[in-house]
């Protein structure tokens, strides 16, 4: 198989043993996409960057084919850790379906040991445009998506003196499940080796849903802008930055805007690695009394075709 690698930007993920080495011709998978267009799995599992979805459909399947990705991501902030893993399938360069699991642990502060987890199912549909071919036009590739999230509740609360707390609802959240909706516009300015992406998300999620949805401060949808810029250094390496504004629904939390800078490397179309530095601002500051920026490394491996 020709390993002409595609560059990728965005933040990725991994999984072992998907059998991708034989992917060419595998059930019609053509790995036929142009440079840079496979995307990676963003935090909630959609094809995109680390924090922000792109309008691109995940995987290297062309408009006549399909592709898939599996990912593993580890984020270690100062006092919190998040591991995510999951898989996504893209079909006909039109539709994408993803499943991702989040496992979140408090690793510092007085709440050290507290944990939670959630499952996320996402769907994305490309409405129009092609981020690659339309180099003579300003029309971006445009997609809409939805992410349904179901939080499993809080574990180990008794160990930190919060006996009986098993749900984010006991911390002020209105619900343990919720659905985000987003629209994303992506343009690859090939002549400038630049990728520019803007998205707007309608969300009630607290800390990506890890602290439930809606809260004592606000229980309605917020419309929050997000964005990505990436510079393509080589066919296999890109660097860039993302920003994701977020609502503040919970009084026990000091949720704020998240940022990252990243480098994404794709030695082949079948595997890619991302190293990023992420800053999510304050997390649970009012509850822990620890008011500091929660920043740290984001490492992600992705395998697919």
């Amino acid at each position: 198989m020709r390993a002409v690698a595609l560059l990728c930007y965005g933040l990725g993920s991994w999984v072992a043993g998907v059998g991708v080495a034989t992917a060419e011709g595998f059930l019609g998978a053509d790995q036929g996409k142009f440079l840079l267009t496979a995307g990676f799995s963003q935090l909630e599992g959609a094809g995109g960057g680390g924090l922000v979805p792109l309008a691109l459909i995940t995987g290297y399947g062309s408009s006549d084919s399909w592709g898939a990705n599996a990912h593993f991501t580890n984020i270690q902030l100062k006092d919190f850790q998040l591991r995510t893993y999951g898989a996504a399938v893209g079909a006909l360069d039109r539709v994408e379906v993803s499943y991702t699991r989040h496992e979140f642990d408090v690793t510092g502060t007085a709440l050290d040991g507290l944990g939670t987890a959630q499952d996320i199912v996402g769907v994305k549909v490309r409405l129009w445009g092609n981020a690659v071919y339309q180099q003579d036009s300003w029309v971006p590739q445009l997609a809409v998506g939805a992410e349904y999230q179901k939080n499993e509740g809080i574990t180990n609360a008794a160990n930190v003196g919060l006996a009986g707390v098993v749900s984010a609802k006991q911390l002020g959240a209105s619900s343990e499940h919720g659905t985000d909706y987003y629209i994303a516009a992506t343009k690859i300015f090939l002549a400038q080796s630049l990728v520019v992406n803007v998205a707007v998300r309608a969300t009630k999620a607290n800390e990506f849903g890890l602290l439930g949805f809606g809260g004592d401060l606000k229980n309605t949808y917020s419309f929050k802008p997000e964005g990505t810029v990436a510079y393509l250094l080589t066919r296999r390496l890109a660097v860039g930055s993302e920003i994701r504004t977020r609502p503040h629904n919970l009084s026990i939390d000091d949720e704020s805007t998240g940022y990252d800078v990243f480098a994404a490397w794709a030695p082949t179309k079948n595997i890619s690695l991302v190293a990023a530095y992420l800053n999510l601002g304050g997390i649970l500051g009012p509850a822990t009394g620890v008011n500091r920026h929660q920043d740290g490394p984001y490492i992600s491996v992705q395998a697919g075709f």
Binding site: G32, N130, Q134, R235
Partner: protein
């Protein structure tokens, strides 16, 4: 802070718009990639790579590759403001009998990147050339399969649809 950074993103996009629209003085892209010698070397490498690329070489089964190499040189020279006249047929007509897919179109672009690499044209300039070629996808790749009688040359292909 968040608003400022988002503003920055938009400004970056606007800046890209400005620089893309600006033309004018300075060396042409043709000059920057290294002129005739470099471009001829590139298209020569490209034909070699493409001939051994099983994803697309069969689509050139009935092509005079010497002539193809010359026409590709003319076409890229013309697009990069090298002052050449492209003497071949337009992309719609020259691909009218072929069922070219997006995957094949993209494979060809990958081979062109590879050819540029082999002759050491910088990646950012490679992207500038591919940016000029990418819109040809609309004329090369078919929305629907070409009818058998058209593919066999018994019936002339339909005219290029209006944009």
């Amino acid at each position: 802070m968040a608003r400022r950074i988002l503003g920055c993103l938009l400004l970056a996009a606007a800046g890209v718009a400005g620089s893309a629209a600006a033309g004018g003085g300075g060396p042409t892209l043709y000059d920057r990639i290294g002129g005739e010698a470099k471009l001829r070397a590139t298209v020569h490498e490209f034909v070699l790579i493409m001939e051994s690329d099983d994803r697309i070489n069969f689509t050139f089964a009935n092509t005079d590759l010497k002539k193809f190499e010359q026409l590709l040189f003319e076409q890229i020279c013309n697009l990069t403001d090298g002052g050449c006249k492209y003497t071949g047929r337009d992309m719609y007509t020259s691909h009218a009998k072929l069922n070219i897919t997006n995957a094949q179109f993209n494979a060809l672009a990958e081979d062109l990147y590879e050819a540029f690499d082999r002759v050491h044209v910088p990646y950012r300039l490679q992207n500038k050339v591919v940016a000029l070629l990418a819109p040809m996808q609309r004329d090369v790749v078919k929305d629907q399969a070409v009818p058998q009688d058209v593919a066999e040359g018994k019936v002339p292909p339909p005219p290029r649809p209006a944009k």
